[in-house]
Subunit: 395 residues, 2 copies
């Protein structure tokens, strides 16, 4: 692990900072839980005989990414060119930008390709394919592109039987740009049973492979067949014909993933430390200094069987305070209430708590970086801060 | 206005950048609309005979704040100590930190006081008052504090008849710390008629004045009686006994404020520029590269009569595309759909659009700063970018 940086507003030098020290609110990453989550999916991918291409959009951190493969750069997926540029700077040379390409972004893609980074772009229209082919020809540089395939009506992509599929494949191939196909089972976030997730994983695989086969039948070579989402990656049983698996959220997990059963609450590696700043006993409220600016407005569990509000509450050591939920948020205020007749604990002003988020990607995005702890070192009170890890911001 | 900075990923030097140039998504501020919004509330405050203390938590920008009073620092409200420190650095010496104080933050407050900044803190418990009094005595520096008053059950604060009110007042006064009372009609965001907002404003004023009178009757001097929220500030008819008015959102406004009738859509000064990256005609979807990372997850209009999804859509010049709504968001994807049988416009890949947000405070927080345009300069296509204005981040 890194030599610790000085956390923002740390106590005076010489004092070992703990989670009791930095000004609140701030984001915390439990490095041991993160490593365990990473190891779990790594082992799965090995068993399935498929390469893993983690999506770094959740943590957006070179330091967290160092945990993926013992510090060696591995293939990664990114959600912004800012991530691609930061990871290229960090030595990553095999990157997939998994958001449909806007033609005006191609100069930044070409700049990375010229630096020796294999940066793949994604597209699902003949217009985009023509732009990529044209940019590639003018640059004299093959610009590898994948065709986005829609497996579940979630967002973008072509159905594998779409007439445009082979046309796009042809445009890309003729310019030396065709790399393969990519699909993402976005609807699997709503698959509430293990069986539903297995079916979603099978459908994701079948759809991607069908698209690849159709292109191959048209004489178009397909190197990459990329599938994945955190729920399907943890449910897939057979990935024959798939060359790589993508997932992002799994490094931290969150209440949405715990709510559908992909992980347990003890796997959640991201939390936000807040401080009690007031009480409204007549309403049953405890007020904290962590509002939506610290947690995000994401309420992904609102559509689940158990709505977890803006998050569940633990003490500084990470032990759940049973029945306590963050039920409301304004910009810099959070409201905690007791659920189902639970006792509202006595938490004086100044008490620090940790909030487990609905959606790790959204909550992490509200912070400049992470205070890092080693959750396995037992402590009665405040775990020591091992490091401060910065995030990539912007686009 | 500032000399323009080079926007991130601007075209080559020598080309005047317009909203058609920077890589998307990015946030835009229309400086003329902002000025008009500022002028409107300024004139109201003048008519009401009350000082205005704008809340800078929405824009979080020294550059936007320069518009408040012709470049001269004015009294401001902040939501974080990071804002207080940045504004102090920018020459602001009269600042109220309007979130209940956590005792561990007092060293940063004292550091600003020692620099000559009058920084007021907020509290609503005897514990906090004792911490403030104690810190003040040990520092030998009066630490001005306001007592938070609850006028509508929205969040924190004491009711004006709460037994603790005078006790807190006494603790503060004895340490030379008692500055006054502050209340915020947070429930006025849900006041859907002008009459409801007038009543909310009257109640906000009456409650704050009642609390001040109770303290005065106990022999405790009250200098500041501070009230405000964007809806009540625009509805108040009589602020007798009030010394200052606070509001923040009004500099930009947003769809929530337009939805309850505090402003018109043409007043919205903040938007996000996105690019069309795909089409799903079989679903009636246009896909853009602006997801919740660019817009935030805030869906404040979901509880209004007209749910505006993640936002309304305009062309680059700011003209609404009737019936087009951003109805879904993932991290870096937005989905636009046509409402109420409206025609889905033909917007090829690469088309740039602007999205008007639900909640300006939340959407602005997703960006490092603002590309600034002068919306009054008529243009058929893409307004020129006048400057890039940075935001304060973190806590």
């Amino acid at each position: 692990m890194n030599i610790p940086n000085i956390p923002a507003h740390a106590p005076s030098p010489g004092t070992a900072p703990t989670l009791a020290d930095p000004d609140t609110p701030f984001a915390v990453v439990d490095v041991q839980r993160t490593l365990r989550n990473i190891e779990r999916l790594s082992a799965r991918a090995d068993r399935l005989g498929v390469a893993l291409r983690p999506h770094v959009k959740t943590a957006k951190s070179l330091d967290v990414a160092r945990l993926l493969q013992d510090g060696t750069p591995c293939p990664v997926t990114v959600s912004t060119l800012a991530e691609a540029e930061t990871f290229a700077e960090g030595g990553y040379t095999d990157i997939t930008y998994a958001v449909g390409i806007a033609p005006h972004k191609l100069p930044r893609v070409l700049a990375l390709l010229r630096r020796g980074v294999t940066l793949r772009v994604l597209l699902d229209s003949t217009e985009q394919a023509a732009s990529v082919a044209d940019a590639s020809r003018r640059a004299g540089l093959p610009l590898p592109a994948q065709i986005e395939i829609d497996c579940d009506g979630h967002r973008g992509g072509l159905r594998p039987d779409a007439p445009a599929l082979t046309e796009i494949g042809r445009i890309l191939h003729d310019a030396g740009c065709l790399d393969g196909v990519l699909t993402h089972a976005g609807e699997s976030y709503f698959a509430h049973t293990a069986e539903d997730r297995r079916l979603a994983a099978r459908n994701e695989r079948d759809t991607a492979v069908a698209a690849a086969e159709r292109l191959r039948a048209a004489g178009l070579p397909v190197a990459t067949v990329s599938v994945g989402s955190t729920p399907t990656a943890h449910a897939a049983e057979d990935l024959t014909g798939v060359t790589e698996l993508r997932a992002g959220n799994y490094v931290f997990f969150d209440l949405v993933m715990a709510g559908i059963g992909v992980c347990h609450l003890q796997d959640l590696a991201l939390s936000v430390v807040v401080t009690v700043i007031g009480h409204r006993p007549e309403h049953g409220w405890i007020i904290t200094d962590g509002g939506w600016m610290a947690m995000s407005r994401d309420r992904g569990t609102a559509v689940q069987a158990q709505d977890q509000g803006y998050g569940l509450v633990t003490d500084l050591a990470g032990d759940l305070l049973p029945g306590l939920v963050m039920t409301a948020a304004s910009q810099e205020h959070g409201t905690l209430t007791a659920r189902d007749g639970a006792h509202l604990p006595d938490l004086p002003v100044g008490t620090r708590l940790r909030i487990l988020p609905n959606h790790a990607c959204a909550t992490a995005a509200q912070h400049r970086g992470y205070h890092v702890i080693d959750g396995t070192r037992s402590t009665d009170t405040a775990p020591a801060v091992q490091a401060f890890w910065e995030r990539v911001t912007g686009w």
